[in-house]
Every structure is written in structure tokens, then in C-alpha cells.
């Protein structure tokens, strides 16, 4: 009898092994298959493309962004009529170097996988992608960046639609095979999509999240005596330019971007409090997006309260992607609800039948409506009378926050995140100028203002 009992136990072990096999197979198909399939060594993808015409990609207005031409000898050329403008959104599709960005993640749509071919031998068309990006705004943002290294992300706060997304430096996706060596050796890493993969300290723009925590802890009415420097243990942080504000309330501290006040608040909230607030805004979590993103995170193994003080002003171990900073601003604009960002509005067949549509969805409830209104009020103050006056637009209320993030090596990063109109936000813009060395209010804010104005005037 004892023997049978043990045999049953062995049966259970074997059952678990088989269960593991089946689960692994499903897991592989869900999470690994796509990146494995698009490996350039996989001959299948090119073979399947011999039978199809890869789909085109269009902007929101219907501007052609990518298409495939088939030569008389059957050779295929992937053309990108807008040149470099979308290199960090659409990516490239190369037989030698594989695929990146939308060309990779939406590969099965573009090659029309699952479409049923009614005729044999004919070339089947793939499906087309229609993006949320406005081509005119994308070009305008590109020109605004004017060759400087950095990123611009414009997002619609109520839906999460990406209206424009630019990263510089970039590359020409149509000549990737000739330029490969040169791009790979370039120390400025043109292949890094800074808007989605670049991780930067967000600087004072992160005070948006810290203020949300201030509201939730019921500390909005406190005043501080700001000596200009926050000094505790071996940490010493001074206000921008070393200015001492004296007796100051939180609203003014936000508008003037007092590091002393926000470091003190962060220190008092402690490591757990600061981390919890960051996670409400999606820090330490993967952002599911149409193209690969890096995870914004607080990079401490063990975070102390002093570390928390630094994180509260967007320094220390905190790094975020420009996309994520834009989402943080957009969450406040949208009454505290962070929407899931997306790039692909619809997928259609060659003759225009819609076969896939992205619906807006809430990613995180980052803050309550009253809390968002409180933060918005301070953000309006920043533009009206604080560090971000350069973001003002005639006749329109703009809310925003500047940031000037110190880096371990090199010049400061200049930041601005803002949205307009504050009463019913239609666009939120985040601007990052990498190692620009200027305060965000001077350089980044005017860029964001121009983009918002251009969009609202359209």
C-alpha cells in the first residue's frame, strides 16, 4: 500500500513537469515569441515577406510615413518618405539588421499575419497602421529641438494618444545598411530612442508627484523657513542659484522650485512614503506601450530617508524616461488619472477596413481629483509668476513645471512639462534637453510653449 502511495506522488511530480512544459510554452508565446521571431537570423520573416507586400504606416492626418515598393525583379525596398523624422517611432526594417520599434512590435500586423489569402501565388497585401501622431506637430517639434540632443513628447491627457514624439540624435532608416558601422560607433548613440529608452533624473519636474503626496498627507498649509540649503548628514542640496527664500509656503516653494522645502518634505515622509507615491505614478513599473520602453525607477538597493529627500526633488537614484514625465504631467491634467499611452490608433486592411482599434484606458489612478486640482493650481502659478513664465500663451491658461536636473558628469539637463488649456487640457508636452546646462525655464519651457501654441491654434 505504501508503494502505491509513493507511486501516486511520483505521478504528481510528473504531472507538474508536464504542466510546467505547457505553461512555459504558453509563456514563451506570449512574452518571448515576438522578439525571437523578429531576430534577423530568422529566415522565415523574409520568406513570408516574399509572398506579401508589407503594410504602410500613416500619420493621424493620413500622411504616408512608410511603405514598401516591389521592384519588377521582386526585390523590396522599404521607403520612409519623411526621412529621419520618425526614426525613433517607426524604427527600421532591414534584412541584415532586423527590425526595431513599430516595425518590430507591429510586425505581424504589417505582414498581415492571420489574413486569409484567397488566391495562391498572388502577392498578398499586409495591413496598414494609422498612428496617433500629427505629422505637422511632429515636424514642428523636430524643428524646435533644432539638432540639440534630447526628446520631446506631446500627449493628449484625456486619451493617452501620443501627438508627437521626437528624439535626437537620430538616423536615416532607409540607409541603415550603409550607415550601420558609423552609427554603432557614434558616441552620441543615435540608436537610443531617448524619449522612450533614455533614463534621466527628472529634476524639479518630479515635485509634481511630491506635491501630490503633500496634499494626501494634509500638509498643504504649512510654511517653512528656507535658508537656501538643505543640509543633513552628508547630503547638501542648495536651491537653484543658492537663493534663500526665508519664510515660504508650499505653493510659493513649488512656483520658485525651492529644493530646501521639498527635500525637507521628502525627508519627513521617509523612504517608504516617497517610494509609495512614486509607484502611484508608475515608477518602478514597466510601461506597456506600442514600442519598447525603459522602466523608470528608484535605483537604490536600500533607500534611506536622506535618499528619499533627494528623490523628492527628482535627483538621487530616481531616473525616468521623457515619455513617463509627460505621462506624469498628463495625469494631473486629466484629474489624477494616468492614461495608457498609445501610438497606433487603428489597423486597417489595404482597402481601409478597420480590423483593430486602440481604445483609451486608464493606466493608474495616480491622484484623486481634488489632489490633482491642488497640484494644477500650483502648476498654473509656476507659469504665471514662477520659474516657468516663458511658457505663457496669450489668452490661454498654461500649467507647467520646470526642472534643471544635476548630473554626475557633465552639464545639467533642462526639463519642462506642461499642459494647456488648464481648464480643459488638450495637450501635454514634456521637453528634455540633454546636458544643455541651462535652467529648464529658460530653454525647455519656450519649446513646450511653442508646441502647445502651434497645436491649439491649428
Amino acid at each position: 500500500m505504501n508503494v502505491n502511495k509513493r507511486i501516486i506522488r511520483v505521478l504528481v511530480v510528473i504531472a507538474l513537469l508536464f504542466l510546467a512544459l505547457a505553461s512555459y510554452l504558453l509563456w514563451f508565446n506570449m512574452f518571448r515569441a515576438q522578439s525571437v521571431y523578429t531576430n534577423s537570423y530568422n529566415r522565415r520573416q523574409w520568406e513570408s515577406e516574399q509572398k506579401i507586400k508589407r503594410g504602410s504606416i500613416y500619420s493621424s492626418e493620413g500622411e504616408l510615413l512608410a511603405e514598401t515598393e516591389i521592384g519588377s525583379d521582386g526585390s523590396r525596398i522599404r521607403r520612409y518618405p519623411r526621412g529621419r523624422l520618425y526614426s525613433h517611432v517607426i524604427g527600421y526594417s532591414s534584412q541584415v539588421y532586423g527590425k526595431t520599434q513599430l516595425e518590430m512590435t507591429r510586425d505581424s500586423d504589417l505582414i498581415g499575419k492571420g489574413n486569409i489569402g484567397l488566391t495562391i501565388g498572388d502577392i498578398r497585401p499586409g495591413n496598414d497602421l494609422h498612428l496617433t501622431i500629427l505629422d505637422y506637430l511632429q515636424e514642428y517639434a523636430y524643428d524646435q529641438l533644432d539638432g540639440r540632443h534630447g526628446a520631446i513628447v506631446a500627449i493628449e491627457p484625456t486619451t493617452g494618444q501620443i501627438l508627437a514624439m521626437v528624439s535626437l540624435p537620430d538616423f536615416d532608416p532607409s540607409s541603415i545598411e550603409e550607415d550601420w558601422e558609423e552609427i554603432m560607433e557614434d558616441p552620441d548613440s543615435p540608436f537610443l530612442a531617448r524619449a522612450t529608452r533614455g533614463l534621466y533624473p527628472p529634476g524639479s519636474t518630479y515635485k509634481i508627484a511630491t506635491s501630490a503626496a503633500v496634499y494626501e498627507n494634509g500638509r498643504t498649509t504649512e510654511t517653512f523657513d528656507d535658508p537656501g540649503v538643505f543640509k543633513k548628514g552628508d547630503v547638501e542640496v542648495s536651491n537653484y542659484g543658492g537663493e534663500a527664500f526665508g519664510s515660504i509656503d508650499i505653493k510659493t516653494a513649488f512656483e520658485e522650485s525651492s529644493n530646501y522645502v521639498f527635500c525637507s518634505l521628502g525627508y519627513e515622509m521617509g523612504a517608504d512614503g516617497v517610494r509609495a507615491e512614486a509607484e502611484k505614478f508608475g515608477v518602478n513599473k514597466d510601461i506597456e506601450f506600442d514600442i519598447p520602453t525603459s522602466k523608470s525607477e528608484i535605483q537604490y538597493k536600500r533607500m534611506t530617508d536622506l535618499d528619499a529627500a533627494l528623490v523628492s526633488i527628482g535627483q538621487g537614484g530616481l531616473v525616468m524616461t521623457p515619455l513617463h514625465v509627460a505621462m506624469m504631467g498628463a495625469a494631473i491634467a486629466n484629474g489624477g488619472r494616468m492614461m495608457k499611452p498609445y501610438l497606433v490608433e487603428t489597423v486597417t486592411t489595404e482597402n481601409g477596413t478597420v480590423i483593430g482599434q486602440t481604445r483609451p484606458s486608464v493606466l493608474y489612478e495616480s491622484a484623486g481629483a481634488a489632489c490633482a486640482a491642488y497640484v494644477q493650481d500650483m502648476m498654473i502659478g509656476v507659469v504665471e509668476e514662477g520659474t516657468g513664465t516663458t511658457a505663457q500663451i496669450d489668452g490661454i491658461t498654461v500649467a507647467g513645471k520646470t526642472g534643471t536636473a544635476e548630473t554626475e558628469s557633465g552639464e545639467d539637463h533642462s526639463w519642462f512639462v506642461g499642459y494647456a488649456p488648464a481648464e480643459s487640457p488638450r495637450i501635454c508636452v514634456a521637453v528634455l534637453l540633454e546636458n544643455n546646462g541651462t535652467p529648464g525655464g529658460r530653454t525647455a519651457a519656450p519649446i513646450a510653449r511653442n508646441i502647445m501654441r502651434r497645436f491649439l491654434n491649428e
Partner: protein, 427 residues
């Protein structure tokens, strides 16, 4: 009572489903292969073999009726894919199934009739050792393992497949307690079994047949887990396994390569990572429902007709198809475990247990290997992979299992008949 219930579960419906799968599958392939009639002949041959064997099995009351159904489901899927990859593999596989079927009945009757199996441990040991020696002297190296023997140029086979069965029979002698006399008056059977295991594993190391080592050693471990009251032996053996594994990893180049390929096949994709990455490409391209029979590109996968056939299944029948195959294997293992639990004779119990564990582990190791869940060690997928030795030995082990099942059933029905007779007498 038990028999009444067994009868009420119909084996007809699954049989019809199997016929339907064959009909649809081969018809689809027929159209896909430019209406090549040979496809239909192959399909008809599979069906004919199934119907003949199954009829004999049912009418002859040869034990469990469900295992054979599931086995032929696997065989059908295998032949279908082999035909799709290369028709000539399909034909030759049919021949092997024919031979395998014959061996199945031979194994069945020989095992059923002969009563002294549990006394012959030394014959199994000597037989196994001889097979190893022959392989070492005459063997050919195929895919890095020196475990093939060719006779003439037509027939080649892997003796280690036979050795596995001999090994199980030998262990079963010890496990069932029928081998109780110490060897040379000194070595107790449990130590003798241990020595035999390590000798066999040693031979396999010389042949670099890591997959078989894994299967054999695991059979041994499971066997002593179930049968050996001395827990120390189990613990010591597991420690030995870990130590030997670590030493192998540290010093044996072949094992290092396998581990490195498992952790990261992509960095050396054109050389050592080639096989596994091609297999993963195939699985990734299939998606949930597969490209459909005949629409994928399984030619890119090396050894697709034998070790890597599961990747082709996933490519053309999808991950769901792959999971279905895994479930079939599990159900077969489940039925076999049931037979082992029901068996009354201790030797029969141990043999069916060993054979079942062998079957299940072999499946797990190769499917896990080609999907990169565990390091890849080349062994065949039972009943699906192309190959004479694999098919014939799988059928032989099935014959043994069926014989044990039939013995139990006839003992039960005998007991039931006796009961009924007693009831009548009382009245």
C-alpha cells in the same frame, strides 16, 4: 463492479475522432502536396495499421483500451508531419510502425507467458553491458553522441534504447524483492543495483549520450524513492548527482557548451546556438494556432524529423497544438501509472512503473530541450519522431505495459467470476 464501470466508458468515440483526424489531415496534405496520391496511401496505411492493431487489442482483451488510442493519435500526428517534411520519411515510418506493431504483440505475449522474468537480473545486466561494449567497439558518432550501430548499410540502431528496458527489468528484480540473495554472498542487492546503475551511466558518459544518462539516472532515483526503505541511499545519490553534475559542468567541455547554449543561444547563433535558435524561430512563428499544415518552413530546423519534431508541430499546429500533444503524453503516462498502481504482482508493478517514468521523462527532456526550457540533450520524442529504434522500442515497452494491464484485468475478472459463483452457491 470495476469491470462494469470500465465497459460503460466507450472507446469508440475517441476512435472515430482519430479516424476523422487522419482523414482530414492527410486530405489537407494531399491538396497541399499537389495532389500526390502517395500521401493518401500513407494515410490509409496508418489507418489500416491502427484498425488492425486496435481490433486485435479489443477482441483479444489485451488490457487497457485507451493507451493505444492515444498512442495512435501521436503516431498519426508524427506521420502527418513526416510526410509534410519529406514523403520518404513518411513511407519509411509506416514500415517501422509495421515492425513496431509486430514487436508489440511479440513483447505482449512473451511477457505475458513467461513467468521467470523476476529471476533474471544477471541476464539483463550482462545483456546491457554487452550492448554497451558492442557500441563502443562498432559504434558510429551521430550528432556528437557515439551511440549508433550500423549493420550493413541498411539497418542502424541505438543499443542504448534497448539497454534502458533491460535496466528497468534489472532494477525491478531488486525493487520487487524477488532478487534478495546477496551477490557473491556479500553484496546486498541494493548495493549491486547501485553499482550496476553507475556502471551503465559510466558507459553512457563514454558515449556522451547525456539525454539517456538523465533518463536512466532519474529512473533509478524514482525507483529507490518508491521502493527503498533506506532513505539515506536516496539522499546520497541525489548528492552524488549534484556533485557529478557540477564537476561535469566545470570540467567537461560538452556539458559547458550545452549549458552556455541554453542560457544564451543568441550570441553564437551561427554556430553552437544554431539548432536551438532555429527551433525557437519555428515555435515563435507558429503563434497560438500555427501556420497550418504545409504552410510553415520546418526545413530550416536541423534534425526536424527526429529530435526537433516538436518544434515543427508548434510551427504548423501552433502552441495550442503543442500543448495538446503534451497533454496526450501526460494522459498516456497517467493511464500507465494507473496500470502500475493496479498491478498485483510486485515485479509487474515495478516494471510498469519504471517504463512509465522512462516514457514520461524522455518526453519531458526532449520537449523541454527544444523549447529551451532546460538544456538540450538529444533524444527522440516517443511515437512521433522518425526512427526505427525509437518506434520499435516504444512499441515493445507498450507491449509490456499492456501485458501487465491484461494480467490485472484477467485476475480481476477471474475474482469477479469466482465471487458470482460463490453468490450463486450460497443461494
Amino acid at each position: 463492479m470495476g469491470i462494469e464501470r470500465l465497459k460503460s466508458v466507450s472507446y469508440r468515440k475517441p476512435a472515430y475522432l482519430l479516424i476523422l483526424l487522419d482523414a482530414l489531415g492527410f486530405l489537407l496534405l494531399f491538396m497541399n502536396k499537389d495532389y500526390n496520391l502517395n500521401v493518401l496511401y500513407t494515410g490509409a496505411a496508418v489507418l489500416a495499421l491502427f484498425l488492425t492493431m486496435y481490433t486485435v487489442l479489443v477482441l483479444g482483451r489485451m488490457g487497457d483500451k485507451f493507451i493505444m488510442l492515444m498512442v495512435f493519435m501521436l503516431i498519426s500526428i508524427g506521420v502527418l508531419l513526416l510526410c509534410r517534411i519529406d514523403l520518404s520519411y513518411g513511407f519509411r515510418q509506416i514500415v517501422w510502425i509495421l515492425v513496431g506493431g509486430a514487436v508489440f504483440f511479440i513483447a505482449y505475449f512473451v511477457y505475458y507467458k513467461v513467468k521467470v522474468w523476476n529471476k533474471l537480473w544477471y541476464l539483463y545486466f550482462i545483456g546491457g553491458t554487452l550492448l554497451f561494449l558492442i557500441t563502443l567497439v562498432l559504434g558510429d558518432t551521430v550528432n556528437g553522441s557515439r551511440n549508433w550501430i550500423s549493420i550493413g548499410s541498411v539497418i542502424s540502431f541505438q543499443p542504448s534504447e534497448i539497454t534502458k528496458i533491460l535496466f528497468i527489468m534489472c532494477l525491478a528484480c531488486y525493487a520487487s524483492g524477488s532478487w534478495s540473495k546477496p551477490v557473491f554472498g556479500k553484496v546486498a542487492p541494493k548495493w549491486a543495483a547501485l553499482i550496476i546503475t553507475y556502471i551503465f551511466v559510466g558507459f553512457l558518459v563514454l558515449q556522451r549520450d547525456w539525454g539517456t544518462i538523465l533518463v536512466m539516472f532519474s529512473i533509478y532515483l524514482f525507483m529507490i524513492y518508491v521502493y527503498e526503505p533506506d532513505r539515506k541511499l536516496l539522499v546520497l545519490n541525489i548528492i552524488a548527482l549534484v556533485v557529478i553534475g557540477l564537476l561535469g559542468w566545470k570540467f567537461l567541455y560538452h556539458i559547458q557548451v550545452r549549458i552556455a547554449n541554453w542560457l544564451d543561444p543568441w550570441s553564437d547563433i551561427s554556430n553552437r546556438g544554431y539548432q536551438i535558435s532555429q527551433s525557437l524561430f519555428a515555435i515563435a512563428s507558429g503563434g497560438y494556432f500555427g501556420s497550418g499544415l504545409g504552410n510553415g518552413s520546418p526545413y530550416y530546423i536541423p534534425l526536424v524529423h527526429s529530435d526537433f519534431i516538436f518544434a515543427a508541430i508548434c510551427e504548423e499546429m501552433g502552441v495550442f497544438g503543442g500543448v495538446a500533444v503534451i497533454l496526450l503524453f501526460f494522459l498516456i503516462a497517467y493511464r500507465c501509472f494507473k496500470i502500475s498502481i493496479m498491478a498485483e504482482d510486485p515485479f509487474d508493478k515495478a516494471v510498469s512503473f519504471g517504463v512509465t517514468v522512462m516514457f514520461a521523462l524522455q518526453t519531458f527532456i526532449i520537449i523541454g530541450g527544444v523549447t529551451k526550457m532546460i538544456p538540450l540533450t538529444g533524444i527522440t520524442l516517443p511515437f512521433i519522431s522518425y526512427g526505427g529504434t525509437s518506434i520499435v522500442i516504444s512499441f515493445a515497452s507498450l507491449g509490456i505495459i499492456q501485458a501487465i494491464s491484461a494480467k490485472t484485468e484477467s485476475a480481476e475478472s477471474g475474482a469477479a467470476a469466482k465471487e458470482r459463483k460463490e453468490e450463486r452457491d450460497e443461494r
